[in-house]
């Protein structure tokens, strides 16, 4: 008993040098518990990250900005050279006979050219165009004989619009999103064969793939296969970085499994296809197969052949290393490897594989993703959108913006500037600059814009922001004010052009002078405008009242603060070319105010229309007054300060316009319009220093060169019923008999019997006048 007691006591007091197994130690359990807690917390965190990004906005998608789509129909004005220019921008290839979308051919005679054009399929707001081969003729710059090879008769065919720019997020990534259903089967086949054969079987990580890849690479003696699954690649690209570390690899594997648990294979593949990096265009990264197909082949992914899709998949491993433009042989070898893997996996029959392996890469020479080519116009688009959409939405939601830009007109404007500006700069210095705007007369759509003589310059936009004195460009507003009072003024009303001086209350004086320093006596109103006589204009404006002229400017659409002094009558008023376009637009469109629009529609990335910018008009000036003013502005071009245009333009193209020159020739302006287009051009120096240029010798030359390059209709305003033509003799500008010698017909609004009459002195009119006297 005592011995037992002793052994129990001895056992209780067992010495500490007897050790227990480490896994039974309480500390071990604590450590394990803490580790488990950390691991679980980390897994929860990873899971949250995976789901947050996958289910949220996955990418910051840049807005895509498109030029207007070219519409082809019988009777359309179209110049072949301009058409070819636009097709080259759209990466249409000229071939002997088009067999696939994106090709065209020319034929026919020199007077009647035949065009065969295989239009790419595309969709626009409210309409979709399937790929179709059309044939038409261009004769005297007009389309006729339009037909389609599919036998379906369609009156209008729309060519896919030129994507002119993107509005990028900070990351500067370019993407064209595709849904799973839009991904070609051949692309999926190529991806699976090359990157992940067991994609549809594994759960994110495939140990078997790793082993197989190691075996294949050893057999080939080089790396021909990767061991990562597509899911792992997606995780690496989408969530992590390409930094090589065990920690990253572990995270990658865990996140891959999580993705597989939460999302379907289709969703993962779709994200992979849209996320993968496939090249670089300057500062812009090309992501996704959708964008890459445009970048390398100039066409939508759905229109790519199997060998082209294989090339895209070949670049997954290294877009720079396998770049088909920089390393064509390497790219070709890799592409053929992809094709052989497809053939081995049964996706491609052997004969087809052999045939495809012999094909060239087929890559277009110039990437279709270009940096912003039209910065001045895009600037206007952004300003017009910013109020409605905000900068963040513009840069990240993948909006599609369909603008009014006409690439052919834009090119014509740029070429006109390139041709004329060097000769102007030769006499005036290299710092001579230009701003220009072209709009559609009947629509108010902004069709072309230049903010700098270098059209690609992204900086100060003179078309929108160069606020310059407009000089004589303001005179039509003065004369229109007069013509709106037909009981007081008509085109033959005489105004005294003799110099005068006025003194203000503060003692200042104002003495307007003519450009030629001459006094022209009593001049008819239309001549005072067409010859741009300052003195007569100032006298007329003072008679009408500065307030009245300001009111006319407001009616015409001028919104900015106006100079309240008489000097405004001669153009001591600053405006940008765009602001000038606004008020001349009203004159050109027969007295109808219409906002100048650069955008037609905005849609979501999926094509749902968000905004449409409707056509709005407001008649602000009587048609009769505008008709009279337009007659005088045509006279400016026939015999006034703008008459030099007819050295370059055909006499039958009736145009109207006004030159403008400011003090010391600091600004050279021209604003003029035909039946279709209004163009406003400013030439000058940013530091406001003098040049040798007048409106006629500077801006008008650029305008003339532009108008000579574009097919258009002459100005042909319908005569209002309240207007009649009467003959006026040129001595006292009294009404005279028809066909009197030295007389000319002028339109008159209102009762002519109240006007002074003078019998014709000579010519047939004299006889008519004699007979009229009997009655």
């Amino acid at each position: 008993m005592a011995a037992k007691k002793g052994s129990r006591a001895a056992a209780k007091k067992a010495p500490s040098n007897i050790s227990r197994p480490w896994y039974r130690h309480p500390t071990f359990y604590k450590v394990v518990a803490v580790c488990l807690l950390v691991v679980v917390a980390w897994l929860i965190y990873l899971d949250a990250q995976v789901r947050y990004k996958f289910e949220g906005k996955r990418w910051a998608l840049p807005a895509q900005v498109y030029a207007r789509a070219l519409e082809i129909y019988d009777g359309r004005a179209l110049n072949l050279k301009n058409l070819q220019y636009e097709l080259s921008m759209l990466q249409y290839r000229k071939v002997a006979a088009p067999t696939r979308p994106g090709e065209y051919a020319l034929g026919g005679s020199s007077t009647r050219r035949q065009v065969s054009l295989f239009i790419r399929g595309h969709s626009l707001p409210d309409e979709a165009q399937a790929p179709v081969l059309v044939t038409f003729y261009i004769e005297s710059d007009v389309v006729n004989g339009l037909s389609a090879s599919d036998g379906v008769s369609q009156a209008i065919y729309t060519v896919d619009p030129f994507k002119m720019a993107g509005i990028y997020p900070g990351s500067r990534e370019e993407r064209e999103l595709l849904s799973y259903e839009e991904i070609p089967d051949a692309l999926i086949a190529a991806l699976l064969a090359t990157e992940d054969r067991d994609f549809f079987d594994h759960w994110g990580v495939s140990p078997w793939s790793i082993v197989r890849a190691m075996w294949e690479n050893m057999r080939a003696g080089r790396v021909v296969q990767g061991g990562s699954t597509l899911t792992q690649q997606l995780v690496k690209n989408f969530y992590l970085t390409s930094k090589r570390s065990i920690w990253r690899k572990v995270n990658e594997a865990l996140m891959s499994v999580m993705l597989e648990i939460h999302y379907s294979k289709q969703a993962l593949l779709e994200t992979y296809v849209n996320d993968i990096y496939l090249g670089q265009s300057g500062a812009t990264a090309v992501h996704g197969f959708g964008m890459a197909s445009y970048f390398y082949f100039g066409k939508a992914l759905q229109h790519c052949d199997t060998h082209e899709l294989a090339l895209l998949v070949a670049m997954v491993k290294g877009p720079s290393y396998y770049s088909p433009r920089r390393h064509p042989q390497r790219a070709l070898d890799r592409r053929n490897l992809v094709l052989s893997l497809m053939q081995q996996e049964g996706y491609l029959a052997h004969p087809r594989y052999r045939q495809m392996s012999t094909l060239g890469l087929g890559v277009i020479s110039k990437p279709s993703i270009r940096s912003n080519q039209y910065p001045a116009f895009l600037d206007l688009v952004r300003r017009q959108l910013r109020e409605e959409y905000g900068e963040d939405k513009l840069r990240t939601e993948g909006l599609k913006i369909y603008t009014t830009l006409d690439p052919q007109l834009q090119d014509s404007l740029e070429q006109a500037s390139e041709k004329i500006m060097p000769s102007l700069a030769a006499r005036n210095g290299k710092d001579l600059q230009l701003g220009g705007v072209v709009t559609g007369v009947g629509t108010g759509e902004v069709l072309a814009m230049l903010g700098d003589k270098n059209p690609r310059y992204q900086g100060f936009n003179r078309a929108l922001d160069a606020s310059r004195q407009i000089g004589s460009l303001i005179k039509p507003a003065v004369f229109l004010t007069a013509l709106m009072e037909p009981e007081r003024y008509h085109l033959a009303s005489t105004i005294d052009d003799k110099p005068f001086k006025i003194q203000f209350e503060n003692g200042d004086e104002w003495q307007p002078k003519n450009f030629d320093k001459s006094d022209h006596g009593e001049v008819p109103l239309f001549k005072a405008l067409s010859r741009s006589y300052n003195v007569a204009t100032a006298r007329l404006g003072l008679d009408l009242g500065v307030d009245s002229v300001q009111e006319t400017l407001r009616k015409l659409g001028v919104e900015k603060a106006l100079n309240p002094y008489p000097s405004i009558l001669l153009g001591a008023q600053s405006m940008s070319p765009f602001e000038v376009s606004k008020f001349y637009q009203t004159i050109a469109s027969n007295g109808f105010n219409m906002p100048l629009r650069a955008i037609r529609e905005v849609t979501t990335a999926q094509g749902d229309v968000l905004s449409r910018y409707p056509f709005e008009i407001d008649q602000v000036v009587a048609a009769e007054a505008i008709y009279l003013l337009q007659h005088a502005l045509q006279e400016t071009m026939r015999s006034g300060t703008g008459r030099s245009v007819y050295r370059r333009l055909p006499a039958a193209l009736r145009v109207a316009g006004k030159t403008g020159t400011t003090n010391d020739n600091r600004d050279s302006w021209f604003s003029g319009f035909s039946g279709d287009y209004l163009g406003v051009i400013w030439v000058g120096k940013d530091d406001n220093s003098s040049t040798s240029l007048t409106g006629s010798s500077g801006a008008l030359r650029v305008w003339t060169e532009l108008m000579a390059r574009i097919p258009q209709y002459p100005l042909a305003t319908p005569k209002p019923s309240a207007i009649d033509y009467h003959w006026f003799e040129s001595n006292e500008w009294a009404v005279t008999d028809d066909q009197c010698r030295d007389a000319q017909p002028l339109p008159v609004w209102g009762e002519v019997s109240k006007l002074p009459y003078r019998r014709c002195a000579s010519g047939l009119g004299a006889w008519k006048g004699w007979f009229k006297g009997w009655f």
Partner: protein
């Protein structure tokens, strides 16, 4: 007697010459392009209306009658792009706007149709009538 007859004929001729008058210059019509011109005595030069626009206008008229306003609006926008100075486009646009209850826009479209059509033409008379009806409805 012969002298009297001769004098009578001369006076008649002179009267005829005196009563006729040309109130405006002959205008030059151009063909569709700026590069060539042809003489004509037309008072107004028109943009030739492409056949597709005439077809569109027919469709628009039918759509308006049938109450298919969305389709009509889409066609109106297209017709305006293709033939921006065709007065019928604005006449129909005015009708469309009236159906939508957009009175101000309707009025402006009718005014535009008036401004773009020949004096006293059928289109102008229709537009003026529509404008008067609109204004009388407003009153």
């Amino acid at each position: 007697m012969q002298r009297i007859i001769g004098l009578f004929c001369l006076i008649s001729l002179l009267m005829v010459a005196g009563c006729s008058s040309v109130s405006r210059q002959q205008v030059v019509a151009v063909d569709s392009r700026s590069g060539s011109a042809a003489s004509a005595s037309k008072e107004k030069i028109e943009h030739p209306v492409p056949p597709v626009v005439s077809k569109l206008l027919q469709g628009i008229a039918q759509d308006l009658q049938a109450g298919s306003y969305r389709s009509a609006e889409k066609a109106l926008r297209q017709a305006q792009r293709l033939s921006v100075n065709e007065p019928r486009v604005y006449l129909y646009w005015g009708q469309w706007a009236e159906q939508q209850g957009e009175w101000h826009q309707a009025e402006q479209m009718y005014r535009r149709a008036v401004s773009l059509s020949n004096a006293n033409s059928v289109i102008q008379r229709r537009a003026v009538r529509a404008l008067n009806q609109l204004n009388s409805t407003d009153n």
